[in-house]
Amino acid sequence: MSELTARFDVTFPTFRLQVNASIPLEGITVVFGPSGCGKTTLLRCFAGLIRSPSGFLSLGAHVWQDETTRLFLPLSQRPVGYVFQEPRLFPHLNVRSNLLYGWNRTPISERRISLDQVVAILGLEPLLERRATHLSGGEQQRVAIGRALLTSPRLLLMDEPLSSLDVQRKREIIAFIQRLDKEFKIPIIYVSHALPEVVQLAKTLLLLKEGRLIAMGPLGEIFSQVGVRHVISDSHIGAVIDTRVADHDVEFSLTTLTFTGGQLSVPHQHCAVGESLRVQILARDVSLVANPPAFQTSVLNVLVATVMEIGPIEADQPFVDIKLDIGCPLLATITRKSLAALKLHLGQKVHAQIKAVALTHDFLD
């Protein structure tokens, strides 16, 4: 696994980007934050499209920028693929020539990905001889991704590549991106302000706010941090858990998922046993019971949990976030009134009633 070490400090008329971080690159790393927080600027700094004075950037042992020695590799000399928000295909070339443009310029010894592979995985065969201007938006973006892959990059940068597409195309391309990660083992840094994409794709999350990196870590951990509600909207916070399909209960039309913390029952899923499935348990869908319920509950998923952290209590806010441990982190949003009534304290064992499990592949609807 390689590591991207970055130190940038760039000032613009309206904001300032200040980043100093070592980012472990494995799978898909999503840079997330509200519009205007500097996500694209950060990506352009990585690519060398923006030069930060006194900046530093290295991928593993390869230094791309070191202003103390005035070293700065232009984008064309960095082994980086860049997929822009718009496809930016070359209008005077057909699809095949677009795909091979970068491949032809990649030294033979560095070529690890072939045209055939890319055409197969992205389903581009029927488009090859078409003019780039005669494709739909989704097709164009697929060609743009393929074109970037054919330079055999060490790092693939993607700047909201789905933002201009409809839901159907989004699903399609997300599936492609997930396959890329598995097939080519190229680390991806993916910029997004759309939570559904983030939850579906991210392994690691970088949270950016007003030009500063405010959190970095595995997606599941960041989404179950107390206080994260200040960055991510209330309705989206909650633990993200990677599960595996364990069993189908035909009689009640349920599917059982297993994860490090136990089991979850969800409505029947059309997935084979053993397949992995990422789910999110929204904090507002978790309620806490201090004493084991003597009464019967209609909630299917009740898990034993330990109180790990009680979120900042704000006098003007009715709600407070509680971080729990169920073998993995879980976040619950309860009212301050309930907190007082339950007399919750750190280390306490409680029962977490999970009212709903969101399946992340449904998010795009």
Partner: protein, 225 residues
């Protein structure tokens, strides 16, 4: 059928051709710089390039005559190297025409590069193309309509010039006597038939060239919007 000397016609075509080539070589980097620079000097350069549009040709011709003559600094430099000054020579005419037609070449190219924008260039860089490579394989073909317009306007404008050529080149048959001046000469001595033939020839030629250009332009596959 009166005798007409076709010398001025060939000389004019030669002058226009050479001028266009010179202008493409000079105009491309200027237009490129204007389209992509963030320098404050941009507006100044834009204004300088546009000057020949508003200046009377005689003003431009007058200063060029002085500059290119044996006592001007360009003319004297040329004299030191080649043994003759540039005023009243074909080379002098090329320099003068190039300057006079500069905006007609730079402006279409500037517009074409500007409408391409930075985005395709960044995409090419990300595909490992160097800046020169990007210019040759992405920007130039995408700007092909701009180039066509620049060539036609530059050529046509050089065909039609009169004042600058007269001032700098004089009226030396076989060397600097171009078509527009030849027509003027014929009219002055009331040789209307000859004037008619040359004028009609130029008219027809210009029309045919423009017709061809617009036909080709329509068929060009690239639409950069």
């Amino acid at each position: 059928m009166p005798d007409i000397d076709l010398g001025p016609l060939w000389l004019t075509l030669q002058l226009a051709g050479v001028t266009v080539v010179v202008l493409l070589i000079i105009g491309t980097p200027i237009a490129w710089w204007l389209a992509y620079t963030r320098s404050r000097a941009r507006t100044v350069v834009e204004a300088v390039v546009a000057m020949p549009l508003v200046l009377p040709p005689t003003v431009l011709g007058f200063y060029l005559l002085i500059l290119l003559g044996p006592h001007g600094w360009i003319g004297s430099a040329s004299q030191a190297v080649t043994g003759s000054a540039l005023s009243f020579t074909f080379s002098g005419l090329v320099i003068a025409s190039a300057l006079y037609s500069l905006p007609f070449v730079v402006q279409p190219l500037h517009g074409a590069f500007e409408s391409i924008g930075r985005k395709p260039l960044e995409a090419a860089w990300a595909l490992r193309a160097s800046k020169l490579d990007t210019f040759l394989t992405i920007a130039s073909p995408m700007a092909s309509r701009g180039y066509l317009t620049a060539i036609v306007l530059g050529f046509a404008h050089t065909l039609g010039e009169f004042g600058v050529v007269l001032m700098v080149g004089g009226n030396i048959p076989g060397r600097t006597k171009v078509l527009s001046i030849a027509i003027y000469d014929h009219v002055e001595v009331l040789e209307y038939t000859q004037a008619h033939m040359l004028s009609a020839g130029l008219l027809l030629f210009s029309f045919l060239v423009l017709l061809m250009v617009y036909t080709v332009n329509r068929r060009l596959p690239i639409h950069v919007s």
